[in-house]
């Protein structure tokens, strides 16, 4: 039986797949990025629709419920993504600093 939260997850996944396609069509990223994100949404959809297929992981990971397992994995994933984005932002910030100063000093 599909639960309410699974419907929400499925709709979210469809919506994100649509956005991924839309921004790819607008040329915001390359085909490789589009492919990576589509794989991510496909895995997400599978997890949402067939959560019980991960039941065998509960015992070896010492987690009592599937919901707890997904929450923990999501939290780890989000932390990883935040760190990665922080790194990219800092690198871009340094690049902007250099560009703005170079232009200011060379365009007197």
């Amino acid at each position: 039986m599909i639960l309410g939260i699974q419907i929400v997850g499925f709709v979210f996944s469809l919506f994100m797949s649509y956005l991924t396609f839309l921004y790819y069509r607008r040329g915001d990223y390359r085909f490789r990025d589009f492919g990576v994100w589509m794989v991510i949404w496909t895995i997400f959809t599978y997890v949402v629709l067939a959560p019980n297929s991960f039941g065998e992981l509960l015992k070896p990971l010492k987690v009592s419920r599937l919901m707890d397992l997904f929450t923990i994995i999501s939290f780890i994933a989000v932390l990883g993504i935040v760190f990665y984005l922080y790194l990219i932002t800092r690198r871009n910030e340094d690049k902007i600093n250099r560009i703005v100063r170079e232009i200011a000093l060379n365009r007197e």
């Binding site: 902007i96 600093n97 703005v100 100063r101 232009i103 200011a104 000093l105 365009r107 007197e108």
Partner: protein, 226 residues
């Protein structure tokens, strides 16, 4: 003018400006009377600031707004390319009186200091929010860095060319003033405060309460990892 080290004294004023079309021309004209070179750094203004600042000897433009600390640093880096001995920093909003520049430079040279801070705390023109914020940040600087500066957020200062390496700040925002104080204490630089006159034209510009909280956060960070 000659320094006590018998080198001809060349002074350069660095003025960061962001949307200061009403004030920058006056600040530049008044400042030119007291220094050899005036550098204006337009920090991505969207008004007529670049047009109004044409009388500056050197005009630099950031294509986007980067913050006061970053703009001032661009100006100082450019000043160092000139043969200057003393760099004076003042705000572009006409808050400072350029007529006070000789007082700052005089104290720097005659008292053989590394840096001189213009202190606003001795006159009562400061809005109460700024006054409270300044008091709070000064107390914090005293507790965290042992500073004796009574106006931690003053943008009016003069320092020697050689001092810049020791006070080179990383903050791009208003935190740079507090960072300089932190570096002055850390490097045991000779410093003195000189009372200056200020005039506040625009209540919604300059340091806000959020800026104050950010400066405090940065000060805690510098105390722990600076």
């Amino acid at each position: 003018m000659c320094s006590n080290r018998m080198k001809p004294l060349k002074t350069c004023a660095v003025i960061p400006a962001f949307n200061e079309e009403k004030n920058i021309a006056n600040v530049v004209n008044e400042t030119k009377k007291h220094v050899d070179t005036v550098i204006v750094v337009d920090d991505g203004s969207t008004d007529k600031t670049p047009k109004e600042a044409t009388k500056a000897d050197i005009f630099l433009k950031h294509i986007v707004n980067m913050g006061k600390g970053f703009a001032l640093q661009t100006g100082v880096e450019r000043a160092l390319m000139e043969d200057v001995n003393v760099i004076v920093c003042l705000d572009g909003d006409n808050q400072h009186n350029p007529g006070d520049i000789p007082k700052l430079v005089g104290a720097l040279i005659e008292q053989d200091m590394d840096i001189v801070f213009g202190s606003r705390s001795l006159n009562g023109d400061m809005p109460w929010v700024l006054r409270f914020g300044n008091w709070w940040l000064c107390k914090s600087a005293q507790m965290l860095f042992g500073s004796s500066i009574s106006d931690s957020q003053t943008g009016f200062k003069a320092f020697r060319k050689e001092t810049y390496d020791k006070i080179r700040w990383k903050s791009k925002s208003y935190s740079m003033d507090s960072e300089i104080i932190m570096r002055v204490g850390k490097n045991n630089l000779r410093h003195v405060q000189v009372p200056i006159k200020t005039h506040y034209h625009c209540g919604h510009k300059g340091t806000t309460i959020i800026d104050g909280l950010r400066i405090f956060r940065d000060m805690l960070f510098w105390r722990m990892w600076g």
